[in-house]
Amino acid sequence: MDNAIAPTSGITIPAVESPERALLRNNRYFLTIIILIVVGSLCLVVVEQIAAGWLALGDRANISRRDLNGIEITVMIGMAAWGVICLVTAWGFYRHPSTPSLGDYLVGRIGRTSAGVFLTLAFLFVLIIGCLLFCEQILTGWIALGERVNISRRDINATEWIAVISSVIWALVSLRAFLFLLQRNKRGWAWAQWTALLTGLVGFTVFFAALVHLNEIVPPGGTLTDNVAGTLELMIPGLLAFLSAMAVYRYLTLSVNLSADQSVRNSLAKSPSAGAIIGLITLIVAFSIVSPLFLEPRAAASALSTNITNGIVAIGITLLMISGEFDLSVGSIFGVSSLVFILAMTEGVFGLPPQSAVTAAIMSLILAAFLGFINGIILILTKIPSFIVTLATLLMYRAVIIVVIPEGRIIRYADYDLPEPIIDFSPYVLIALLAAAALVLVWFAWRQIPRLWGSLRRRIASYSENTSDFRDIYVITTFLWALLVTIALAGLLIGCVVAIISLFGRGGELIPINFFDIVNGRIESLPLIGPLSADINLRTGVIWWFVLVIVFQFILTQMPYGGFSFAVGGNAGAARAQGISVSRVKIFNFMICALLCGVAGLAFVSRVGSVGPNLGEGLELEVIAAAVIGGALLSGGYGSIFGALLGVLLFGLLRTGLVLAGVPAQIFYGMQGLIILLAVVLNTAVRRVRT
């Protein structure tokens, strides 16, 4: 591009380029103008299609008739107006490249009819009307969403309710922005930016979804051109929303210090797991578009339940990576401890007779921690890099398994004619546990609930002094959050009390509970939701997994030991200089990591009931990948347990999603590799924004 041209001064205009072209080329609205022209033309095409009767909307039993109904006329008028405004604005931007920004309007320097200002106001207005029309069409049943066998019935499903509620909220937000702008209130700028940005994102998603389902509207034996109206109907809403919003957003973010997308990027940069968050959202949106089954509880439950072992091991490996070390032997430790757990129950290990499930579990956990201790002590004594040390122990621990169960034998709990490991709990023990839980809840509520409602009261009291652009949003979210926490705590407390009362009702009768069910059994019903249908396989192990994630994230961020781990991995010399025992922290983290492998082993055996010689092979790479996606640095000193959870979920959803999308499962590894690469690139890019 020839930047030597100064179009407005008119001094150096090369002969090859006409003044008009130069004007366009150097216009800061160049891209906006192009988008606006596209939007304007598309609107007019739609108007034509409706007028010609090819595009039918609303109540229309017979597509062949020529009259136009109310909704069609409304949409036509709206589309025509919006199209004309876009084209006129494009012309305005083209003629006056120095069109003032919204800031000039807010301080009263220009009027509402200035090209960009009018575009913004019109956009918000169209958005309000559009959202309301959309609601109306869903409620009257003319737009059907979600799983719907029969379009003619009148009930509204959950997806539709969500769409209705969110579009009403969206209409209100747009209205707020619109009114702010009318009053020349400075807050309107930020509101309009966010409205445009989010509308654009939603529009893009809808457009993407339409693209995926495009092949469904091709008439048999024909091409897309045979069904122009159908194509338009499918593609236009998303495309128009996306392009219009982007044009407005580009105008709005001109000459602002911190645009909406920058503030999103900045807050993402604060999180170690930006890549995993973005990846997870993208994956969920993409798969739920491709396959409607993906959003069903069945798929979510399966994605969670099949990743319990990976998830628990990933916690340990992340902690270890934060302290600057690395454990390749996790898969073998997982295998050994699973083996010891099952053998201790069935055949007996270390020369002991078969044990009860609890003793066997304790034995396998102690063994796992011991294997981790061996890793750590070798590392500290020899100062060999952990990659080599644990590569060696990976093979050695695996050898133990192969020696014990040679020739591909598989140990099955069911083969031993043993009873299920039932533990008889006295109801009073359970009552005591529940009472303790209730006490903790009361204590928590006692501390948190007044604080939450107090902060809401303070927000309301200081509402008029609050200079933030989004003070209304803060008040609403504070209120919703306080309400949610209060309801959740009250619900849990009531649950505890009800359970205690019903236990008292049983008298002194012992309650048999299967040990396997405690560790990783199927959850039959959920509080508030009720019994789960038979095809939803949600496991108790998921609860333990999440509890462990929360506990370790808490240790990492809120307790001194977490700080020591970060320091040891980030700069061992500095940690030592501050009196932290680097060796002790590292050995301890190796042991925690191995112990968590043992816990994962318990969860695995409790669910599957069998152990084969190659159990856990390849686990190490998968969990390290999850930790890395979650933001952990291979060089140590940085990472998050929560990120590792997201990393594991990312893989779990990928696997489930590919199956549901009907993609051959063989490409799973390829996709996994791609995601690792993308997530790490994103993490690095985002971190660069911060420094």
Binding site: Q558, P560, G570, A574, G579, T691
Partner: protein
């Protein structure tokens, strides 16, 4: 604040006849070294002169082959860095001072975090950590925007300064700065020297190790020059010029007019 060292009291640190042998190599051949209270000593010497060996003995990294160390007038055995910390010696190493990926406040408190709770269930008191770190740093003149910011985004001079501020806050008696300015710009060097002076005003003694006299002449009260494992001499700032010190560091010979020199103590 008086700039002259207080000669009447016992020196804070006194090292007598320190000999250190590594196998057949004699790194230190009987060095006497002392630091008075509230004094900044510039420990000078070329690379390999033995100054880091001397300091590593004082900070417990090495144990001396022969010789005694007195701290606060008491004979002490410093056999580990931990022991050195316990008696109040804080060392600020150039790149070992802070953990770059952790926040200022976490770095400031590393190893001695304020907590609530009991036993193994101690939880960091993040609010107190951030507030006190900010106040303590402000106290010696370091203004930080946000204690939650990571140290990695700060300049080398700021990092040294935070380490100095930390030593002052935790009531250390002796601050050892190991080549603190060798990788810094002129402006940042100035800042670090400034905070060193502040540390002295707060009652600390400082050993400033460097091979570059220009960095320390401004703030030091006294210079100790080491060469070839021996001490060339101790000189008060008013007795020597910058040029003379530089020559002694390089040549190892004391100018005639200083020959009889003030052997302190």
């Amino acid at each position: 604040m008086s700039d002259a060292p207080n000669e009447t009291t016992v020196p804070l640190v006194e090292m007598r006849g320190i000999v250190k042998q590594f196998g057949s190599v004699e790194a230190l051949r009987g060095v006497d070294f002392q630091v008075n209270r509230n004094e900044i000593v510039g420990l000078l010497g070329d690379n390999g002169a033995g100054k880091s060996t001397l300091i590593k003995i004082l900070t417990g990294v090495y144990t001396p082959t022969r010789g005694e160390i007195y701290f606060d007038g008491q004979p002490v055995t410093i056999d580990s860095p931990h022991a050195a910390r316990m008696i109040g010696i804080e060392t600020v190493y150039q790149d070992l001072a802070l953990v770059p990926l952790m926040s200022i406040s976490r770095n400031f408190w590393l190893g001695q975090e304020p907590t609530h709770g009991w036993g193994p269930f101690r939880v960091l008191d993040q609010k107190v950590m951030a507030e006190k770190a900010r106040d303590a740093l402000l106290d010696i003149g370091i203004r930080i925007r946000n204690a939650e910011e990571s140290v990695g985004s700060m300049s080398g001079g700021e990092r040294q300064s935070i380490a100095i501020g930390r030593a002052v806050y935790f009531g250390k008696k002796l601050l050892i700065l190991d080549e603190p300015t060798s990788a810094l710009s002129v402006k940042q060097t100035g800042e670090v020297l400034n905070y060193t002076r502040r540390a002295k005003e707060r009652g600390l003694s400082v050993i400033f190790i460097t091979h570059n006299i220009a960095h320390v002449h401004e703030v030091a009260d006294r210079f100790t020059i080491i060469r070839g494992g021996r001490k060339i001499g101790d000189f008060h700032k008013h007795e020597v010029s910058e040029l003379e010190v530089a020559q002694m560091v390089m040549s190892g010979s004391v100018p005639d007019r200083l020959r009889i020199g003030p052997e302190d103590a």
